[in-house]
């Protein structure tokens, strides 16, 4: 294998990894905030992809311009999911962990079923966008523009998230609630409101990822399952609740996946990620940057 080919693989892996990180960070954020794993995370991504697709059809605008709208829609989806489902799951006094798993999983199946009913199981794709089909040539390494753009959005989002958490009142409330749910009530923070906003933010983040992905990936009702599993692996690898961990793990997952395709047939590309994930977990049971 030539150096150039290897560079190509690494560059593609890096870009995809940044998008994986963006998909995963919302999941990690919600977990860190309230110790809940959202098993409908992949379905949120799928919804965002369909939202992008639908808005492109309806407005005939470029998907990039519609991105803020998709993010806003997904914020609303997140808040509704909290208010309609998760809030009740948190009230369970017995088997709480199990209730959360199955309540969010039921939600995932419901969303999947509705998507199949309303959008049919057919594969859809966005045919025209400013970025579609164009590649950047960096010394013989070809990078598709949609992925470059996705990677840049991901980096910018992580930067913004860092500022949000460290510089704003909402971010401080979020951090405080993460640290001690009981104490925040004493200083007048409404826990329920923070949770709802946290779910909104988590869904908005995966919504952004969906809007990015929709430009260059096929859209269908089961698309969430594939990316959902990658998101769980990424979050567990980075450590549940760690935002920085999600970024690092996302990039690692992207690179390992790309390198695996060099060694194994494409159908087995996930074997590399899974092996790495299990390997790390058995050495560090709470992930790379997890607090447990």
């Amino acid at each position: 294998m030539t150096t150039q080919a290897l560079l190509q693989v690494l560059a593609s892996g890096l870009l995809m990894g940044l998008i994986y990180a963006l998909i995963a960070v919302g999941l990690s954020l919600i977990f860190g905030l309230m110790d809940v794993v959202n098993f409908a995370h992949g379905e949120f991504l799928m919804l965002a992809m369909y939202a992008t697709f639908g808005l492109v059809l309806a407005t005939t605008l470029d998907p990039i311009l519609l991105m803020p709208l998709v993010v806003a829609v997904m914020f609303a989806v997140g808040v509704s999911a909290y208010a309609g489902v998760v809030r009740y799951a948190m009230r369970a006094t017995t088997n709480q962990g199990m209730v959360q798993i199955f309540a969010t999983f039921g939600l995932a199946i419901l969303i999947q079923g509705l998507a199949q009913y309303f959008f049919t199981p057919d594969f859809k794709s966005i045919q025209h966008s400013w970025l579609g089909g164009r590649t950047l040539d960096v010394g013989g390494v070809f990078l598709p523009w949609p992925q470059i753009y996705g990677g840049l959005i991901s980096l910018a989002t992580f930067g913004g998230l860092f500022l949000l958490i460290t510089r704003t009142d909402f971010g401080k409330a979020l951090e405080a609630t993460r640290e001690d749910q009981g104490a925040v009530a004493l200083v007048g923070i409404d826990r329920n409101r923070v949770f709802a906003l946290g779910w909104g933010l988590g869904a908005a983040l995966v919504g952004l990822a969906g809007a990015v992905l929709a430009v260059f990936y096929y859209i269908h009702p089961n698309v969430g399952s594939t990316f959902g599993l990658i998101a769980y692996v990424t979050v567990a690898l980075g450590g549940f609740g760690s935002i920085f961990g999600a970024l690092v793990a996302g990039v690692v997952v992207g690179l390992v996946e790309a390198l695996t395709t060099v060694i194994l047939p494409p159908a087995l590309k996930s074997v590399g990620i899974y092996t790495l994930y299990l390997g790390v977990l058995f050495i560090r049971p709470s992930g790379l940057f997890g607090r447990l």
Binding site: T94, N95, G106, I109, G113, F240, A267, Y274, L281, P285
Partner: protein, 350 residues
């Protein structure tokens, strides 16, 4: 023993035992005996079902219901009693299905041997995987089980000897208990799977009141406290995993014989892992009848919605199923069996 009996020993002749004095344990024993008798009556009544129903579709639904009652009971041993929420039991189900199919189709070895071999292999694998996995806690454990099962699915998908994505087709043969093939009459399948359910139920029944059963519940409730009291948490989890995987694989082997055709997606999909956990969650985790009650509601519902709404993959059946899972887990976190607990307690109190 009451204080009165203690202070007036002379008044009580030695020959007459005082039934009251033993009441906690005796009451417990009769409750256990009553449970066992109820179970035997239920199994006997179920055995009559094939005599009453001849409709093939309905028999199929009932066979699947009993199969998932048995599978969910197996899952319940690890997930419900021992508190280790595995979402990767499709792996053991798939091992049972594949071992049974490969031995029968490629080597002509009767499914009975295949079932046993699959069970043992799944058990051994569960122990090997338990070694690293049981160090993981909570969500880390659950997600690791998903990933391991997905890896199994991927490997089987690319395993040419086992038919890769195409899977394995069983040859058609004459109806026989020996090869577990019955083309004309579904009743034998029903009896087999009823037997499997009865065995898993009885094993659970026997274990939960044994030393292991108490250890499992201690591990579930508070592993640190259990450890400090001398329960070897790790060994408890391993034992539960081994038993659980064994019966799950037998269920998988039976399923392969029942449908006569398996492929990776139809036996090892993530969906199967959930289908095994759901009835227990719905019916009541860590209870003897929870998985059966849950299966009795979920499996017919899934089958009927599929046949009435799921035509050409419309997805409505999925939506209904998902909504139901959500509603039940939210409104009754202890499971449906908890309703009966309430009655029992009230009756005992009055």
């Amino acid at each position: 023993m009451s204080d009165d009996a203690m202070t007036t020993p002379v008044a009580t002749p030695a020959t007459t035992p005082t039934p009251v004095s033993l009441s906690p344990i005796a009451g417990h024993l009769t409750a256990r005996r009553r449970q066992l008798i109820t179970a035997l009556i239920v199994f006997a009544a179920l055995a009559l079902v094939p005599k009453l129903i001849s409709d093939v579709y309905l028999m199929n639904v009932l066979i699947l219901t009993l199969l998932f009652a048995a599978l969910s009971q197996s899952w319940n041993i690890l997930g419900g009693y021992c508190g280790q929420v595995s979402l990767g039991h499709a792996l053991y189900f798939g091992i049972g299905a594949y071992v049974t199919s490969i031995l029968f189709v490629k080597f002509g070895i009767v499914p009975w041997v295949g079932l046993a071999a699959g069970g043992v292999l799944a058990s051994l694998l569960a122990l090997a995987l338990g070694y690293p996995c049981f160090r993981l806690k909570g969500h880390y454990f659950s997600i690791a089980t998903i990933v391991i099962a997905e890896m199994g699915l991927l490997l089987v998908h690319n395993w040419d000897y086992a038919g890769a994505a195409l899977g394995i087709q069983w040859p058609f043969g004459p109806d026989s208990w020996w090869t577990l093939q019955f083309a004309r009459d579904k009743a034998p399948y029903f009896y087999f799977v009823l037997g499997l359910f009865a065995v898993v139920w009885l094993v659970t029944f026997a274990i939960v009141e044994s030393r292991w059963g108490y250890w499992w519940r201690a591990v579930k409730d508070n592993p640190e406290a259990a450890e400090s009291l001398g329960v070897t948490v790790f060994h408890s989890k391993m034992a539960a995993a081994g038993v659980s995987a064994f019966f799950t694989a037998i269920g998988g082997g039976f399923y392969a014989a029942f449908v006569s055709y398996i492929d990776p997606e139809s036996v090892m999909q993530f969906r199967f892992s959930l289908l095994m956990a759901l009835p227990a969650v719905l019916g009541g985790i860590g209870s003897l009848w929870g998985p059966a009650v849950g299966a009795l509601i979920l499996i017919p519902l899934a089958e009927f919605t599929r046949s009435y709404m799921g035509g050409s993959g419309s997805g409505l059946d999925l939506a209904v199923y998902g909504a139901l899972i959500m509603v039940v887990s939210l409104t009754r976190p202890e499971g449906i069996m908890s309703i009966f607990d309430g009655f029992g307690r009230k009756r005992a109190a009055s």
